[in-house]
């Protein structure tokens, strides 16, 4: 098969993506920088940095550390606040990229989340929200919602009422049962589930005898966590009927195909953008070539191929 013949489109939440690859929240800023590296229309969609109601300064530095095949971050949701995002960032992104835009939403209390979503309702420059109930880097922050199925469900219900855009719920892996979390969110009306956010980790500066990150703990991401992410995607895809978006350690086309076969309808790429800013379009190319070589005419036929219990979810 010629690689030009492969149909890479996937769809979820009423959105159709030209391909299943998008940058993950917090690893792409708002697109201003990446557009100097490649045409953003090569992406399936774009997920922007977590947006909170008010501007946030984030955590003290150091905020990043390298770990074996991974990294820790403790950015702590630094962002300009939703009104500047709506005014300055989203319109700009719309101008430079004609692909779906997903806004990651974060906060401390339910009311914060509602206020952010209401502000986003007034913008036409996005296509879905991704509810971040899983950031490990905010002290009394969203993390509780992300570890308790009942709280998560309440939050999702409230968000579904508040938002005029589809609601993707992004899960934390730092739980005993990811399936309980996913099912609670689905029942509460989530339009899709994305996972995983970072694992909580730490590094110690043994010369200074203290944690290396300014915040003490941070979120672990990168290839190191891929096996954990893949297992969770596999389990969740087998337990919910809404589309699942796979995230965690994806750096190559083969990685992306693993997640699709596990049951993900699309994938997000985070840390790998830091290692190689060109990684997203390269993954698209690699997926396309693999499909051509293996005579897979439509990438959506791969969804759940290795997961018999998974519903092969794609709107198309």
């Amino acid at each position: 098969m010629n690689s030009g013949e492969v149909d890479l489109r996937v769809s979820f939440c009423g959105l159709t993506l030209n391909n299943p690859v998008m940058p993950a929240s917090g690893c792409f800023s708002y697109g201003r920088e990446m557009k100097d590296f490649y045409d953003l229309n090569l992406l399936g969609a774009v997920v922007v940095k977590a947006t909170t109601l008010a501007e946030r300064e984030g955590n003290p530095t150091p905020r990043v550390a390298e770990t074996p095949a991974g990294m820790l971050n403790s950015i702590g949701l630094q962002n300009p606040g939703v009104s500047r995002v709506v005014r300055e960032e989203l319109p700009y992104l719309r101008r430079v990229a004609a692909v779906p835009v997903i806004v990651n939403v974060a906060g401390t209390m339910v009311e914060d989340y509602v206020a952010v979503v209401e502000a986003l309702n007034h913008s036409a420059d996005l296509d879905a929200i991704e509810l971040n109930i899983s950031c490990p880097n905010v002290k009394c922050g969203g993390i509780q919602f992300g570890t308790d199925p009942t709280m998560a469900a309440d939050m999702v219900r409230t968000m579904k009422c508040a938002s005029r855009y589809p609601v993707i719920v992004k899960l934390s892996p730092n739980v005993t049962s990811i399936v309980d979390m996913a099912q609670a969110c689905e029942k509460a009306g989530a339009d899709a589930i994305s996972l995983i956010n970072t694992l909580i980790g730490m590094q110690i500066d043994i010369e200074k005898k203290r944690p290396l990150l300014g915040n003490g703990i941070g979120g672990l991401s990168g290839p190191a966590i891929k096996p954990v992410a893949l297992r969770m995607v596999y389990e969740v895809a087998a337990s919910v009927s809404v589309p699942v978006i796979g995230i965690g350690g994806i750096a190559t086309g083969r990685d992306a195909i693993e997640f699709l076969q596990a049951g993900a309808t699309a994938v997000q790429v985070g840390t790998a953008n830091f290692t190689d800013p060109y990684v997203c379009p390269r993954i698209v190319d690699e997926v396309r070539s693999w499909c051509a070589l293996h005579e897979v005419a439509r990438v959506r036929d791969l969804i759940g191929a290795a997961n018999p219990r998974a519903r092969r979810v794609t709107d198309g």
């Binding site: 917090g26 690893c27 920088e33 590296f37 530095t61 990043v64 290839p223 830091f274």
Partner: protein, 259 residues
Amino acid sequence: MPQTEVIAQEAIADGVYRMVFRAPVDLKKNGYAPGQFWHIRVTDSFDFTLRRPLSLCQADLDNNTVTVVYRAQGEGTRRIAAKRPGDALDVLGPLGRGFSVHDGDGRVLLVGGGIGVPPLLELAHQLAAHGIRALAILGFQTASQAVLLDDFAPYAEVIVVTDDGTLGERGRVTDFLQPERLQGVVRYYACGPTPMLKAVKDVLAVRGLPGYLSLEERMGCGIGLCAGCVHKIARDGVVRPLKTCREGPVFPAAEVVFA
């Protein structure tokens, strides 16, 4: 395209290397500034998730090559130091905002500490090209760590300082900022460890001398994606954590807020 290649690699001091590589862009067309940095991928796999930022030390426009001088301290820089001429190198850059040369300055001061010295070399070179005289106070821990002294000589009057007195003066660079030495100096440029930058800023702010500091924060992406590398900067009446990889690493000293 970021893929380029190593031209030369040599140890020039205890654990310190000089690497020359083909610039990943056309330096003449693209332009560059002293104080900008290159973001270098450690290996071609994704095991090392983070690149390593190394400052421009010298640019050779004729050959379109770049020199960096760096200490191989951790696993990543040791791998970079193991690269040989002809090896492929994945480099982004030149990145960030560097030092500004102000035409019309008469005499300026350069303060470098340790591995903060190399980025000042290209600056010294450009200052000389603009006819600006420079006094360079270059500090090292000890003689075996001292680098590039001969390279500075054509462009600047050099005072070498070592912590242990094994080379040049004994002491810290801040011990040599007496007014009589700085006669005619209208601006300063500093690069080195954070405590040094803070001390230099404190001493020279008292004299009302404007200057630039090159900050060193741990970087995730190096290109503005992650907000990992921020430093508090006072600008337009507000203090905000700005990305040192995009808005810096060089900032006007007056703007830099130290904890």
